[in-house]
């Protein structure tokens, strides 16, 4: 019998302890954000999909079409093409496509790129019902970029 009342007592105590804690939390400021009405600024190192770096002086990218990024990519998501053009040293980049659907954001393409021509973008709120929307033409993108 004593055990019965004892467990009622400890149970009530346990209940009150819990309620006191949750009650105190109830009056604290919310820690959540009303996404999508508000959204967070990503940290500079955030890994979004890759993009070509825009050189502010030339207004264009600085890729030399060496293909090292493509070679080092574990998922084969980079397709690029450089062609020889009259009067230009080296190759000129004519195509740089990224298939973001298979990218694992490992960063090996960026490490492999000696001239530092690619970087991670800070984009994260991407959503689509169409897979094709994640095939990016990065060459086109660098032109539009401010």
């Amino acid at each position: 019998m004593a055990g019965y009342f004892n467990s009622i007592l400890t149970g009530t105590k346990s209940l009150v302890t819990g309620l006191l804690i949750t009650q105190a939390e109830f009056f604290k400021k919310p820690v959540t954000l009303q996404y999508p009405h508000e959204s967070l600024e990503m940290t500079p190192r955030y890994r979004g999909h890759i993009q070509l770096v825009k050189n502010p002086e030339t207004g264009t990218h600085q890729c030399i079409s060496c293909g090292m990024c493509q070679k080092g990519c574990p998922s084969g998501c980079i397709t690029l093409k450089g062609v020889k053009q009259e009067g230009v040293k080296g190759k000129v980049l004519v195509q740089y496509d990224l298939d973001f659907t298979t990218c694992s954001l490992c960063g090996q393409c960026i490490e492999n790129c000696k001239p530092g021509a690619i970087e991670f973008s800070l984009e994260y709120n991407l959503a689509s019902t169409n897979k094709e929307d994640f095939h990016y033409d990065l060459l086109e993108r660098v032109k539009e970029q401010k």
């Binding site: 149970g11 346990s14 804690i21 490992c106």
Partner: protein, 372 residues
């Protein structure tokens, strides 16, 4: 309890727990043969999320296998990163700068805390308590933010490189870690008051799912499951790697072997990981974060290599056989929860269904890591 509780006329029925069930935390199916509320047999059926990680390791170069490591156990991805890069460093004889090692251990331990916090929340949720999950996620969020600010990712990290790291940490990160530790230290008593001391939790865990050290040994269980059964085994102490020998921390061991013991081991491990992180911050030297001479092409000498680390759920080990080419001949991943789950069938015999779920939660299963 026990199997004698089963009825005499052998009337049993089967139910499926999973492959889609909140209590399994992933696509695990457990085929339960029940006698009323009691379990006669519980057969885990695996393979629903098998992604051939081992085979992938055998058909790509060593460097290209790096991102896979973040996707085996996505809750403590950095331990897996660490195990793999250290294996390759062992094979190639690469010396890693001290600063890089400190950062590795610091981030791995932060990851361990976040993994244990998630387990804590999910486990209590399994038992019917919703609120602690939210508190644990609030704390875990701080860790994810911190790790994101250095690694760029929140869950599937790919941060360590052969011979060092992808990038260095800054003072903001270290201050952030110190602040977080202060915060978590002040929150731990709250967790213990709210959850550990709660009567309902204690009644659902104490004495439930007892595992003997013998059974753990038989099935190769490691990590908190083994330490909750009174065996003092932790790879960080028993086969020290990285800078762990220079750090002062204890290995929590509880001898009861029940779900409560496993719960307590993990809660104490959070405290110990906090101690490790603190020491890393205090002792962190300046210097390089990448070894000066890392060969571009990784071609290990012909041989059989093995390396093990202590992940959040137990021993994660890799055995790689190299035939001297630029990719592995054989890649074997030993994942802890695979072994921890394998004892479930034997241990859950005769248990009440509700207890079996509490027991399963106390094993801290991560299904993609079981299937690999």
């Amino acid at each position: 309890m026990g199997s004698q509780a089963l009825s005499q006329n052998n009337e049993t029925f089967e139910i499926n727990l999973g492959p889609q069930h909140p209590a399994t935390h992933g696509v695990l199916r457990v085929k339960l043969t029940m006698d009323g509320e009691y379990i006669v047999d519980a057969e885990p059926v695996l393979g629903y999320i098998h992604r051939m990680h081992e085979l992938m390791g055998e058909n790509r170069t060593w460097a290209k296998y790096l991102p896979n490591m973040g996707r085996i156990d996505y809750l403590s991805a950095l331990s897996y990163n660490l195990g793999y890069v250290q294996l390759v460093e062992k094979m190639m004889g690469i010396e890693v700068p001290e600063r890089a090692e400190y950062i590795r251990v610091l981030t791995t331990e932060m990851n361990r805390i976040s993994s244990h916090l998630l387990w804590f929340g999910a486990f209590v949720l399994d038992l019917g308590g919703f609120t602690p999950l939210l508190y644990a996620f609030d704390d875990r969020e701080h860790i994810l933010d911190l790790l994101e600010s250095v690694t760029g990712s929140r869950l599937t990290y790919c941060y360590y490189r052969f011979g060092g790291l992808y990038n260095d940490v800054d003072d903001d990160f270290l201050t952030g870690c110190t602040q977080f530790l202060k915060r978590l230290r002040s929150r731990m008593p709250m967790y213990h008051k709210l959850v550990t001391g709660n009567v309902i939790l204690r009644q659902r865990l104490v004495g439930v799912g007892p595992l003997s050290a013998e059974m753990c040994r038989k099935y190769g269980a490691t990590g908190p499951v083994l330490r909750g059964s009174g065996v003092n085994y932790d790879v960080r102490k028993n086969e020290p790697y990285s800078i762990y020998p220079e750090l002062d921390f204890d290995v929590p061991v509880y001898s009861d072997g029940d779900s409560m013991a496993r719960y307590m081991v993990r809660m104490d491990e959070i405290e110990q990981s906090m101690r490790i992180v603190e020491q890393c911050i205090a002792k962190m030297p300046q210097g390089e974060i990448k070894a000066p001479k890392v060969p571009k092409l990784i071609k290990p000498a012909i041989g059989d290599y093995y390396h093990a680390v202590e992940a959040a759920r137990g021993t994660f080990a890799i055995r790689a056989v190299s035939d001297g080419k630029n990719q592995a001949y054989r890649m074997k991943l030993r994942a802890p929860t695979f072994c921890n789950l394998s004892l479930y069938q034997e241990a859950s015999k005769g248990m009440l269904l509700a207890d079996a779920l509490a027991f399963m939660g106390s094993l801290d299963l991560v299904i993609p890591e079981i299937d690999r």
